[in-house]
């Protein structure tokens, strides 16, 4: 499937971008990013107009980027301001710049038509920058097309089999789901509410709960990039959330993924886990970071294998979709519609 170009994508965590050159490819476009002296993030095409040398191999001179091959010098807006050995700067000496903005601890970039980049359209993950939550995060490279990760995350029944011992228990695969799609706002919501479930190690060790739990998994996917899993854990018999949004008897974990295609067959798999309990307990942070990274790497290993096999399949190969795929099918349809626009 073609890339969905006219959308915002996470290119990095804000903390990754400083006053040094940083290279990352998004939707097949190599980018060079840095933070200017006034603190703004800049994203330019990572190729010198001269001989296509990667600008990320150059260096910064104040806010100017100097190519590491022949010294072509660029302003933060991509305009070339110095050419070696001559005074004349050719009119076409400019590298493309890309709209960027920072929100919720992420740097977002717009690769498509710049005049369509609406900052208000960036979906939110407010927990990641909320002092009431403690967050651990990371990014794993995935050698697979991003659609495989979307499929994976919209059907959490795979937790039982791929992530047993971490986040999977038998109830995940055996509890029915409700899937909602709003084509206007382009949101997919998949709910799986387990009323009486075993507490997996991921939550038992972080919350201290040892008995049976009610476990809610509410997926909110904003295609193509942002995936939110609202996870609610409470002892069986605890009070339901109040109508005004209060829920003191439960533990809440917001699991956030940003799914950013690098190339047609590779993906940046950003993940973050934000919790509203034990915020100051470093051992809980360490445990959740290690556990979630392990889970992500289990997915990465499986999807890397799947990508390898899919690339050798004959065109038009058949799949079989069943009830657990209801959310994933909705995701595929919305992505296909976005790609056609």
């Amino acid at each position: 499937m073609a890339f969905v170009r006219n959308q915002w994508y996470v290119v990095a965590y804000s903390a990754e971008i400083g006053p040094e050159l940083f290279a990352r490819t998004v939707l097949g476009e190599p980018l060079v990013l840095w933070r200017t002296e006034t603190g703004e993030v800049v994203a330019l095409a990572d190729r010198c107009v001269h001989r296509r040398y990667p600008l990320s191999r150059g260096h910064l001179d104040g806010d100017r980027l100097v190519c590491g091959y022949h010294g072509f010098t660029y302003e933060p807006d991509g305009r070339c301001s110095s050419v070696p050995g001559q005074n004349r700067i050719p009119r076409t000496a400019r590298v493309p710049g890309y709209p960027v903005l920072e929100q919720d601890s992420f740097v977002w970039v717009w690769i498509g038509e710049a005049d369509k980049a609406d900052p208000a359209a960036v979906p939110r993950a407010p927990w990641l920058a909320d002092p009431g939550y403690a967050t651990v995060c990371g990014m794993e490279p995935l050698a697979a097309r991003y659609e495989l990760l979307v499929d994976n995350l919209l059907d959490l029944s795979h937790e039982t089999y791929l992530h047993g011992g971490y986040i999977g228990t038998p109830e995940v695969a055996s509890t029915p789901i409700v899937t909602e799609v709003d084509p206007k706002t382009e949101v997919i919501y998949v709910s799986r509410h387990m009323d009486d479930a075993r507490c997996p190690a991921f939550y038992a060790k972080s919350t201290g709960l040892t008995g049976r739990i009610t476990r809610w998994q509410d997926i909110e996917y904003h295609p193509p990039c942002l995936y939110l899993l609202h996870s609610r854990i409470a002892p069986v018999g605890s009070a339901q959330p109040g109508e005004e949004g209060t829920d003191p008897g439960a533990f809440h974990v917001e699991v956030v993924y940003a799914i950013t295609p690098e190339t047609e067959h590779s993906t940046h798999d950003f993940w973050a886990v934000a919790r509203d309990f034990a915020q100051d307990d470093a051992s809980v942070s360490e445990f959740l970071a290690e556990s979630n990274r392990t889970v992500v790497l289990q997915d990465v290993a499986a999807l890397n294998v799947l990508e390898e096999y899919l690339r050798t399949e004959r065109p038009g190969y058949q799949e079989l979709s069943v009830n657990i795929d209801t959310g994933g099918l909705a995701g595929r349809r919305l992505l296909a519609e976005q790609a056609q626009r």
Binding site: V178, T179, D182, K184, T185, V187, S321, N323, T326, L329
Partner: protein
């Protein structure tokens, strides 16, 4: 389980508890049962065709 999305154009699919049956509910109120999610999405997204 109650609905979460509240827009006027929401399509909804319930997996009926203890069965293999999916219940599709269109924003126009039309309902359809199926055991194949591909078939059910095709029916939902064909709105208003066949949604009497």
């Amino acid at each position: 389980m109650s609905a979460v999305l509240t827009g006027e154009s929401v399509f909804r699919v319930h997996w009926k508890l203890g069965t293999d049956v999916l219940l599709g509910v269109c924003h126009c109120g039309a309902r359809q049962e199926a055991e194949d999610p591909v078939e059910l999405w095709a029916w939902l997204l064909a709105h208003p065709e066949g949604h009497s």
